[in-house]
């Protein structure tokens, strides 16, 4: 391994080490939360709901829940980790190292990406044991989940860098991201909504992400998959470019 590779790997390892040391909170709690959703919305309420898009309700909601698990964990991990390190001053050890801004950004992003991926994978594994979950388009599924995980990990970095107190992170997560995700069609099909809520849903970017992941699992989509995929790539690239610009400038990281 070159010195640069060791540096990058260590930066990433630090992020993984952080969330693994508090794994009851960072892995266990989100897993439990996802299973409560599956139990309540799928097993309990689902028996009283007809099929959606030709699938049992519990199967219909699982793809969205897996995506939600990856997205929220990627976001909250990175936002919290960066803000904690800024509070402790510990981030100085990384900032005064020879690591480049791009290395710092990607390694910090991958911390949350990894945590989200672990929670999503465990949710998928357990769901597959409980129900017969189809895998219609595995490549689309993997590509879309990876992109969703990466874009939310980038948004987490952005919020963590900008945040000056934990309230700032909570504000973004509770009042922006979670409402967007919950209203993004995880638990229902937009086609069932009355107006104007149906039209409003089409302005929610999360809706397209959920639909893309659902297409990967179930093979059915309400939107144009190619357009949704292209938009997701564009958004991911835009947020990454913004973060890289901020890291290069040292925005709220270096005095």
């Amino acid at each position: 391994m070159t010195a640069s590779q060791i540096r990058f790997f260590t930066l990433w390892r630090r992020e993984v080490n952080r969330f693994m040391k508090i794994k009851r909170q960072t892995i266990g709690a989100p897993l439990l939360e996802t299973f409560l959703y599956i139990s309540v919305f799928g097993a309990a309420l689902g028996t009283r709901i007809d099929e959606l898009q030709g699938f049992d309700y519990v199967i219909f909601v699982i793809p969205g829940l897996i995506m939600m698990a990856w997205a929220i964990n990627a976001f909250s991990n990175n936002a919290s980790s960066i803000l904690q390190q800024k509070f402790q001053g510990a981030i100085q050890d990384q900032l005064s190292s020879p690591a480049s801004p791009a290395q710092l950004l990607v390694a910090m992003s991958l911390g949350g990406f990894t945590r989200g991926g672990i929670v999503a994978l465990l949710t998928f594994g357990a769901s597959a044991l409980l129900v017969d979950l189809p895998l219609a388009h595995p490549l689309v599924l993997i590509a879309s989940l990876v992109l969703v995980g990466f874009v939310f990990s980038q948004i987490g970095v952005l919020v963590g860098v900008r945040a000056e107190q934990f309230d700032d992170v909570a504000l973004a997560q509770t009042f922006v991201l979670q409402p967007l995700i919950f209203l993004g069609g995880v638990f229902y099909s937009a086609e069932l909504l009355p107006e104007p809520f149906q039209t409003l849903t089409y302005f929610n970017p999360i809706y397209y992400m959920v639909d893309l992941v659902r297409y990967g699992f179930l093979g059915v989509a309400e939107t144009n998959v190619l357009v949704a995929f292209a938009a997701l790539i564009a958004v991911t690239a835009a947020v990454f470019a913004l973060n890289l610009h901020l890291f290069n400038r040292g925005y709220k990281l270096r005095d």
Binding site: M1, T2, A3, S4, I6, R7, F9, T10, L11, R13, R14, N17, R18, K21, I22, Q84, Q85, Q88, G89, A90, Q92, D93, Q94, L95, S96, S97, P98, A99, S100, G250, R254, D255
Partner: protein, 268 residues
Amino acid sequence: MTDAVSPEAPTGADAPALHISDLFKRYANGVEALRGVTLDVREGEFFGLLGPNGAGKSTLIHCSTGLAQPTSGVIEVFGHNALHDYEQARQAIGLAPQEPNLDWFLTVAESLDYHAGYFGMPRAERRRRTEEMLETFSLTEKSKERTNSLSGGMKRRLILARALMHRPRLLILDEPTAGVDIELRLELWHYVKQINREGTTILLTTHYLEEAEQLCDKIAFIDKGAIVAQGTSAELSRRYGVSNLEDAYLELVGRKELSRSTTEGRET
């Protein structure tokens, strides 16, 4: 910060450990923390930087280590521009900051291991060096403890050990003995003197003038963001027409009425 490495600045073996030229730093709130600092620390030197609180010592250190971005001026570390060749420049520096900035999630051993990893040190070498530093700084028994459970003195030891993990050629110590007991202070003095004798250049900021007098080959006074005087302790005393470094410092900060020779004379 100006782009080019200054043409007259030497590179390679003849380059100073730290070359700072016409350095300005203005913060976003308009505070001008550094106003045209020019300073050379030669390789192998034990260099002291003294000044009152808010004089610009920590800002100068932060600019040299990448923690702050200079407004203009040149900083070179062993001939490497700190902005454009930051990888080489930072590789040469070990920083023990004023405030304990340890990662609460890591153990003592992990703190050392991760730091060395950030500086690209291979795993086997990291392990050997971690053992060595734990032993040197009497931290072996604490190696598996989280950093937030350490006492103030232990944190100081760990910060110094961490700064030395990657074998820096220039060690920057920002008030390393602030708030530590006399035993640890003497122990740290002994260690930094030893590594200086072994060839490591040291830049020290301190409020303890006897510390600067005991340790430093050369001392600079910084005040209101500018270097106002530099030389050996004896040269500074002569320059201010006083008998010791403490009185020279009091002259600098405009508080010569606090001089012990004056107050002791008054009391008798």
